[in-house]
Amino acid sequence: MQLAKNLPPGRKTALMAMLIGGLFTLAVQIGYQWYLDQHKLPDELVGVVLPKPRGIGAFELVDHMGKPFTMARLKGKWTFMFFGYTHCPDVCPVTMGLMADVFSRFKDRPDLLDQTQGVFVSIDPKRDTEKMLKEYVPYFNKEFIGVTGGVGEVDRFSTELGVGVRVSPPEADGSYQIAHTSAIYLINPQGKFHALFQTQFHNAEKIAKLFDMMIKLFS
């Protein structure tokens, strides 16, 4: 302060301004770090959870009971969603089995299961009728919902969620295969795409753990 006393008034004001400015910057930095710490995702959820949940536009699909499957069906529940087709003998039953395994890990937590649903969306609506899905989907878990619809509407819905689909050239007998995204989507109770489980890296135990972390953070 001895130093400040001997300074001319103009320099004194400048020094005060610098001091105040410095303190303000420090406060902002501390505050921002505190904010980051509060909102920081646990390391395990980095790369799984979207930084900002992404909204989904209106859609009109149909479930395996013939009932409309629209945005209203996603609201109020966490939805595990897998895109596949019933003519897929390896990846799809493996992933459906995995999804059923995740759900079975919560069997002693009915409160959690009440607010969670499993959905299989067919990316092959031409072959996968409601009747086909009615046999296929509940086989893995009787509560799971099979979803199909018009070719254009299914295409629009899956494209919006970033599902990759590549249909192989048909064979002589007309049969064809489809290469597709094998990840499991997690849609939050606001109907927004919130996380993606990569099935080649995450087993059922891991997915159940990550989901449990998520609902504690975001419910």
Partner: protein
Amino acid sequence: MKKISIVSLLLGLFFSLHAWAGAGINVVDPWVRAAPPTVQSMAAYMAIENSGSAPMTLVEVRSPSFLKIELHQTTMVNGLAGMVPQKNMVIDPGARVELKPGSYHLMLLTPQTPIREGGRVPLTLVFGDGSRVEVEAVVRKDAQGQDSSGHPAGHAPGHDMH
């Protein structure tokens, strides 16, 4: 004399059958993934070991239970899981080839009979030298003692695919 000729005939038959039945090929734990009854495509898995001295090429698999059987590999390309048909599968001497979820498998098309969990599916493995190996695959829900995580394999060492 008649007795001896029958014995020699039987012996001859035995040795010819033996030579024909895929020398050195051993199939371990063949199984078919149980699926809902309406499903038109199923998958079979197994390990094939070649203890012989020559490479063995699996060229075809037949079954009275299915219209068609194809050899496939599940692959992951640019984030898309797909299946690549394989013309054949070479099992080198001393090698063991695994057909498992998310990797090589037999795609079983159009069931000719109901395929139920706990049942058995006869499979005939035909090799390039004309030899055959008959196995019965058990129909069950999941892999046993195998990696059932379904990782698509980048490549499988120890054998070639063509």
